[in-house]
C-alpha cells in the first residue's frame, strides 16, 4: 500500500488525489460564497419576513411569494418580458444565423470588416447604447423627428407607448446581433470539411448544404446563443431604465420585473417583498433556461 493514493481515470495519466487541487480552488470558492451563495441565502431568508408599521418585522413564510404570484404589476412585467422574448430572440438569432451563413459561404468582399463591424456594438455599454438610441429616437434632435420634419411624413415616435417595446427590442438586437453571429460562425468553422465534400458528391447545392448539413451541426451553438438571450430578456433592466427618463409616459416603474424589484427596494421601501420578487424572477429564469435545454436535448436525440 502506497502512502500516496494514485488513481487512473479513463485512460488518462495518473493523477494524485490530494489537497493541492483544493488549495488552487479555494480562492474561487471564497468569492463564489461571498458573491453568489451568501446573497441568495440571505435574500431568501429575508423574503420570508414582512415589515409592518406596527410590530416591526414578522415571519410570514411564503406570504410574499404568494402575493407576488397574484400581484398584477409583477405579472404584467413577466408577461411583457415573455412577449419580448418570444419576438426579439427569434428575430435576433435568425438574423445572426443568416449573417453567420453568409460569412461562412466566403462569397462576400471585405469579410473581416463585415465581421468586426457587426460585432462592434457588443463593446458598447448597454447604458450608452440606450442613451444613444434614445437620442436617435427622440424628437429633440433625433432622426425620426428630423425625417418627419423634412418629408412631412408622420412616422410614429418610437418612444410612444405602442412602439416603445419594439424600440427596446431594437436596442438589444443591435447590441447582441454580432455576438451571436460570431458564436454561430465559430461553430460553422468547426464543421469538418469531409461533410461538405460528401454532400457535394451527393449533388447537394449551396442552399441544400446550408439546410441539411450546416444548421443541424449548429444545434449546440444555437442552443447556447438562445439560452443566453432568454436569460437576458428575463432580466431586462438597463435599456428600459435608461429610456424611462426620455419616455416616462411609456415606461412605468414596473415595466419589467427587475425594474419592479428595484422600485420596491429603493422607492417603495418594501425590502423583503423586493427580495421575494428578485428570487422568484431568478428562479423563473433558471427554470425556463433548463426547460429550453431539456427540450433541445430531446429534439437532438430524436
Amino acid at each position: 500500500m502506497s502512502a500516496v493514493p494514485w488513481e487512473t481515470a479513463r485512460g488518462r495519466p495518473r493523477r494524485r488525489r490530494d489537497w493541492t487541487g483544493l488549495i488552487f480552488f479555494t480562492p474561487f470558492l471564497l468569492v463564489f460564497v461571498m458573491g453568489i451563495v451568501a446573497p441568495l441565502v440571505y435574500a431568501s431568508g429575508l423574503s420570508l419576513y414582512r415589515d409592518q408599521l406596527i410590530g416591526g418585522r414578522s415571519f410570514v413564510g411564503l406570504g410574499n411569494y404568494l402575493d407576488a404570484l397574484t400581484d398584477p404589476r409583477f405579472l404584467e412585467g413577466v408577461s411583457r418580458v415573455g412577449l419580448f422574448l418570444a419576438v426579439q430572440v427569434p428575430v435576433m438569432i435568425g438574423l445572426a444565423l443568416l449573417a453567420a451563413l453568409i460569412l461562412d459561404s466566403g462569397r462576400i468582399r471585405a469579410m473581416r470588416f463585415m465581421r468586426i463591424g457587426v460585432f462592434m456594438p457588443y463593446a458598447v455599454p448597454s447604458v450608452v447604447a440606450a442613451l444613444m438610441w434614445g437620442f436617435i429616437y427622440g424628437d429633440q434632435f433625433g432622426l425620426v423627428g428630423q425625417f418627419n420634419a423634412a418629408t412631412g411624413a408622420a412616422l410614429p415616435g418610437p418612444l410612444t407607448p405602442d412602439w416603445v417595446l419594439i424600440a427596446i427590442g431594437n436596442v438589444v438586437t443591435w447590441q447582441f446581433l454580432g455576438y451571436n453571429m460570431l458564436i454561430l460562425y465559430a461553430a460553422l468553422r468547426s464543421i469538418p470539411e469531409e461533410l461538405y465534400e460528401a454532400a457535394a458528391i451527393d449533388g447537394a447545392g449551396e442552399a441544400r448544404i446550408a439546410w441539411s448539413v450546416k444548421i443541424p451541426a449548429l444545434k449546440p451553438a444555437l442552443w447556447v446563443a438562445t439560452l443566453f438571450s432568454i436569460i437576458g430578456s428575463f432580466q431586462l433592466f438597463n435599456e428600459p431604465h435608461v429610456l424611462q427618463s426620455l419616455a416616462p409616459a411609456s415606461i412605468s416603474t414596473y415595466y419589467t420585473p427587475n425594474m419592479y424589484a428595484y422600485q420596491l427596494a429603493f422607492n417603495a421601501n418594501q425590502v423583503t417583498y423586493s427580495a421575494a420578487v428578485a428570487i422568484l424572477l431568478g428562479a423563473v429564469t433558471v427554470v425556463v433556461a433548463y426547460v429550453a435545454q431539456w427540450m433541445t436535448a430531446r429534439g437532438t436525440r430524436r
Binding site: F24, F32, G35, P121, S126, A275, G282
Partner: protein, 270 residues
C-alpha cells in the same frame, strides 16, 4: 450583409458626428452630417472639465473597478480552472456541478440580493461593494477549465513534479504560460462585463464620486432631459458617451484573436 453592417455602424457614426457639434448645432443641423462648427475638441474639454472634472473621476472609477475586478476574477478563474482540470480533490464533483449550474444565474438577478446582504454588513457605498461581486465569474471558470484541459499536456506537469518542483512553482513556470491565451480571453470578457456594469453600482452607490461612467452618464442625462440641470449640456452627454466606448473598441480591435478563440471555445465545446 452590407445592410447589417450599415445597421450596426450607423448609430456609432451618428454618435461620432453629433459629438462634434455645439449644443445649438445639435438642434439646427442634420443629424447625419456635421454642423457648421467642428467642436469636438471644445466638447471634450467641456466634458472633462464639467463640474470640476467629475467625468474624469467616473472614468478613473470605471478603470479601477474593471481592472481590479477583471484581473482578480481572471486570476481566480485560472487557479480554479487549473484545479478542476488537473487535480482530483475531495468535493470536486459537487463543486463543479454547483458552480457550472450557477452560470445560468444572471448577474442582474443577484444585484438586489447582494445589495441587501451588503447593507446588512454595512459596506454599501464603498468601492469594495462593486469589486467583490465582480470577482466572481462562473462562466470564466468554465472557459478556463476547458482551456486547462486542452492546453496543458500531462507529461509536462509530471516532468516538473519529478524534477521536484512544488505545485506552486509548477503552476507559474509551466501551466500559467500555456494558459496565457485563455487568460487573455477570459480577461477580456470580464473586462467588458465590469466596464458595462450598471445595475449593481446603481443600487450600491449613492456618493457621486464613487460612480462608474455608466451610472454617472445616466444620472447626468436624467438631469439634462428632465430640466433638473439648468444648463442643457447635451454636448457633454454625447461626447461623454463617445469617450466611454473608445477604450473598449480599441481593446477589441487589438485583441481580436483572443475574443474570437474565446467565443469558439465557449460555443463549440459544450
Amino acid at each position: 450583409m452590407g445592410l447589417m453592417v450599415l445597421y450596426t455602424l450607423l448609430p456609432l457614426y451618428w454618435l461620432t458626428v453629433n459629438a462634434t457639434k455645439t449644443n445649438g448645432d445639435l438642434f439646427r443641423s442634420n443629424g447625419l452630417w456635421f454642423g457648421g462648427e467642428f467642436a469636438l475638441w471644445d466638447n471634450i474639454v467641456a466634458t472633462v472639465t464639467y463640474q470640476d472634472g467629475i467625468y474624469l473621476t467616473w472614468l478613473l472609477n470605471t478603470a479601477l473597478y474593471s481592472v481590479v475586478g477583471a484581473v482578480g476574477a481572471t486570476l481566480i478563474c485560472t487557479f480554479g480552472g487549473y484545479a478542476l482540470a488537473r487535480f482530483d480533490f475531495p468535493g470536486k464533483r459537487m463543486a463543479r456541478a454547483v458552480v457550472f449550474g450557477a452560470i445560468t444565474i444572471p448577474t442582474t438577478a443577484l444585484a438586489v440580493p447582494t445589495f441587501l446582504l451588503f447593507a446588512e454588513l454595512g459596506i454599501t457605498d464603498t468601492r469594495a461593494a462593486i469589486i467583490i461581486p465582480a470577482l466572481v465569474s462562473p462562466f470564466g471558470l468554465y472557459l478556463m477549465t476547458v482551456f486547462a484541459t486542452d492546453a496543458i499536456p500531462d507529461s509536462l506537469l509530471e516532468a516538473a513534479t519529478i524534477d521536484g518542483a512544488s505545485a506552486w512553482t509548477t503552476f507559474w513556470s509551466v501551466a500559467f504560460r500555456l494558459l496565457m491565451p485563455g487568460f487573455a480571453t477570459v480577461l477580456l470578457f470580464n473586462l467588458v462585463s465590469t466596464w458595462n456594469n450598471y445595475f449593481l453600482p446603481l443600487i450600491m452607490l449613492s456618493d457621486p464620486t464613487l460612480y462608474p461612467l455608466t451610472v454617472g452618464l445616466h444620472q447626468l442625462n436624467n438631469q439634462v432631459t428632465t430640466g433638473a440641470n439648468l444648463e442643457p449640456v447635451y454636448n457633454v452627454v454625447l461626447t461623454g458617451s463617445l469617450l466611454a466606448i473608445v477604450p473598449l473598441i480599441i481593446s477589441f480591435l487589438f485583441l481580436q484573436r483572443y475574443w474570437q478563440s474565446g467565443l469558439a471555445a465557449g460555443s463549440v465545446k459544450q
